[in-house]
Symmetry: D2
Subunit: 344 residues, 4 copies
């Protein structure tokens, strides 16, 4: 059994980790922490877990003496780095769901997060936890930086094209739409029901932290130098899910069938990517770890259109974290994933 | 392994059965039928099952020669009875999710469903499949009439009070609110997005088929003669879930603690009923087989208020059907239930 | 022209007042105040008013020197009373949208609002601003206490029955469901999108401030002594609207036609109450000042069921306030009401 | 008074016309027609109009003898052309809300609508009813082809750029997201609540009828030959509203301020286009005739991003039709528009 701890209980990624790990046959959730709610039960904070996960919430330092094998950090950006540092000498492996170690260097981090990084040494050992691109490094890693939600959807949608060097760098537009849970559990005007429901808007135009995360990963795949992308996030009146509509321009004409083969081969052996026959909808993956992709080619305009759909809390966060944990502990990637798409 | 068949693939109960049975360690879904879509794949009808359940849909008669142990009928009211009759001599057990055999007699059926019953003999062997009330009969049954969604929420909310003879018959008001999936998969004005979203209304005032189902079951529990209830359904702008707000009047004063004890004892040993500390919300049970109950007493008005919440497609349909199947095959009721509440 | 001021710009009632008063041919909005946002434009706070209402927000004291005829107080409970006191000697008339002067006495207020009242003298001159019941007093009033949203829907649904002494006191159940704007503009966990969307729950069981407001008004209509009601509010995943499902028991049998006549006569000459042929839905009144009523009688259970629907921000707040203003200034009640129901 | 008729009462554009025309001081709605519901009241079909618009629905031929000045055709594509032909010799002016006369020639129509056009002569006199581009032609027209909803949002977002010849043809991507009312009042699987709510998807990739409508109008503005655009529609879980996120590439560097000036000048004197300071949301225009635009320039990628928001039923249909009517009858464009944005 993998003895696991979850640091940070009050947010959506914390509760989602419990939902997913609960059914994992090789996992024992030994400790869940919260500074603000310690002493209360996990099910006091998330009452739908009453009778399922009634762990008493612990202060985070208890993690160090709990004989754990794996620790998930479900903490805000900027806070997580402190814990990665504190746990640097511990025996357990760490999966960090924040953005603190996703980028290539502390400098890039500081430039896009407008914040000094307090633990630059962490970058050396952190592996970017997108199993479809970095499976082997993840297997051997002791610190995984779990990818952002938008980047997961965008990178999986573009990776086959970039890797095959088919598209022109500089001609990529990623128009992404996300559900509200991506903005976190905290109540703010942005997440007030009446500002979201029956509504829709763009935000973070031109400059969003996830832009550089996408660009760095795609650049790593490209044999054609650094990639620049146009990325625009939007806020959907839904709880969960991201759909990215991705426009790219092939260097020369392609056919839909060529694209289908390319994607099928690229994702062969990757159980959580599905190449769909028809454009996928958010609910097709809701609650599950799937990334559903649809690809087509518009001869009239010479553009490739890729649609990429994930559940931002699962494949975009807690599910991908569990997938990474499986790899880190020598298990098949799909072990323990019982949650099927909830549709409707 | 329990070899199972699902008759009726296109509706919500059909796809929900697949979602739940998929993870059941003792179940093998051998056949799924659809007259209207036969020859297509189950995942053509419900694309979110692509790669998970790609069964070719069969005509329903194939069920007879498939060597099955259990057959679920996920068919409309009035149609199901024909299949129960056709399958009367078969070796497998039948769980009927329609309303065709839920009531006590063909006469009652005909009076409330305004329709002649074509297989009155079925009533003799049908058992009302509410495990919290009829566990033993279900264990020995070959034909289970799976309860209606509203009745499941209302009866579980009232059973302890009625059984203990605490409340005055004739003083019960059940104000229920249901999500749209209760109206079925068929597109009609009632289910058009723009008639439901940001909207709310009552329907079926005074006379709804579920009224008599509730009354018959409560009367069976009562030592005080037939129960009459006021039942009003409403349509919520949500996919799933029923919340019933139930008002009753005690014969004499009670306390909240007495009520809590009464409910706790009544549901002791019943894994899917949770007595909640605070009023439950729909999402606390979404996707799961729980019925969450909250009970309080208003001294000022001398009324008991009970809140009862279920997912209409799970505890109100497919989940309860799987729970019944477990009982019929000698398993623990909760075997195979991996789906935790999806919240948010 | 009626020179008006609006004290409190940031909340929903403030912006809704501007939306409604904007088209009133006899109204000139001279001043809008906000302590927290003063110096900014009204359209900075509510950007959908850009180009329509670009008033610079003033501190509230400016109201005193603005030569106004009417002032609307769109302030929280407990704050409003201070302003009523400050404006006590002013020349303008005041319409207070808070709950501070709706109840009969300071004592009742303190008992249900758990708060000391700082201006008890205000109760003497305050008139309860429900035009369908108190038209004449409102005409002559200088301080109107604009009714609560739930009470408006409940009282209008019950007034004909209580006034005619048809129903048994103590047998009234009001099961109300409200949209989220009723909880105010402030971001809190209760109003977080993901706690509301696809969700539903009851709250404030047994004891809610609006219970006593309903009881006092009904008692005033009754020739049978004080009325007690069971009132349960619920939170709907919608922006606007309240539907109250009201159960009462007639002293003796009635017919639906008798009830229809009773209601039609009672509301004859009241332009904002519509007696509906079918159960009304929230969107039938959305954005408008209508209260739609539906009445029926259940012979089987001997109960009257009344459905009452309003938009909580219009007939339940700002619209009713404008209706009261019309009366106070000798205009026809419906003058200036151009907003028709927005459906869908 | 302009005596008007509305042909086609059952759809959303029909009821929206009534909502808007109701408050127009110069309009008298004399006749509303419906073949399928004739003899019933308009308020039987749309109950929220009870007491407001209780017209008895007439067969369409009655329009010819009613002494009308203006007739609105709120009919499906393909049906409308028959009525335009029938009414060709009549005295009244016609505003056709369908797509039957929006394109340049019958051939283009037939190629994109996959349907033979039965009244090709109509194209000669039809004027494309986008007042911001064709005000003068509309003033003198007797047949206005009211623009499509997506095209209205896209063309208004791009017109200043194309007219000024600033952007490279062939580099335009229009990623549009629309509410469900755009799919019409008819119940179909696409509009079933549970397929839309908490969901999101793209459709009509590569080839949508509105693509050619956008391209033709932009080409008419361009001094640089025919324009080709990439247009992708998506279905939002909202009732009303379209947001188009439009990407274009300037021939040479521009600044945000230059773009703001360009747009401000272009739309100077056009009362329904608002240049917004921040990215607009759907609810900022809900129920109103505004088109809200936001423009920015991304130096990093050398792309212009334009956000364009309308209510598809108002500026995208009935409101624009009334705006056109005002022009055709010599009135100011904004006469009679009392409906302000309903937010929330």
């Amino acid at each position: 059994m993998i003895k696991t701890g979850i640091v940070g209980a009050t947010g959506y990624t914390g509760s989602e980790l419990v939902r997913l790990l609960y059914n994992h046959p090789e996992v024992d959730i030994q400790i869940i922490t919260s500074e603000s709610r310690k002493g209360e039960l996990f099910s006091d904070v998330h009452p739908h877990f009453q009778g399922l996960a009634d762990h008493e919430l612990q202060p985070a330092y208890k993690v160090l003496d709990a004989g754990l094998d794996a620790v998930f950090l479900a903490l805000p950006h900027g806070v997580s780095m402190e814990y990665v540092e504190k746990y640097a000498g511990a025996d357990f492996r760490v999966i960090d769901l924040s953005g603190d170690f996703r980028l290539s260097t502390p400098n890039v981090y500081e430039s896009w997060y407008s914040k000094k990084h307090s633990y630059p040494q962490g970058f050396e050992k952190a592996v970017y936890g997108l199993p479809e691109l970095h499976r082997e490094e993840i297997r051997n890693s002791r610190l995984v930086a779990n990818p952002g939600c938008y980047p997961t959807s965008a990178i999986l949608g573009l990776a086959p094209l970039v890797k095959a060097n088919i598209v022109i760098p500089g001609e990529i537009v990623i128009d992404s739409k996300s559900g509200v849970t991506g903005a976190g559990v905290k109540a703010k005007p942005t997440t007030h029901y009446s500002n979201v429901s029956d509504n829709f808007k763009a935000y973070g135009l031109k400059r969003h932290r996830h832009t550089v995360e996408i660009e760095e990963q795609l650049s790593g795949l490209s044999s054609d130098g650094p990639m620049t992308v146009q990325f625009t996030p939007h806020l959907l009146p839904v709880d969960r899910g991201i759909l990215s509509t991705i426009y790219s321009r092939p260097r020369e004409g392609v056919t839909k069938n060529q694209l289908l083969s390319l994607y099928s081969e690229f994702y062969d052996g990757h159980p959580f990517v599905r190449i769909r026959k028809e454009p996928p909808a958010l609910k097709d993956v809701r609650g599950s770890n799937f990334c559903d992709l649809y690809i087509t080619y518009d001869e009239r305009t010479n553009r490739i259109i890729t649609l990429s759909v994930i559940d931002n809390l699962v494949k975009g966060a807690a599910g991908q974290a569990m997938q990474n944990m499986n790899l880190m502990f020598g298990l098949e990637e799909e072990v323990g994933f019982t949650a099927l798409p909830l549709n409707p």
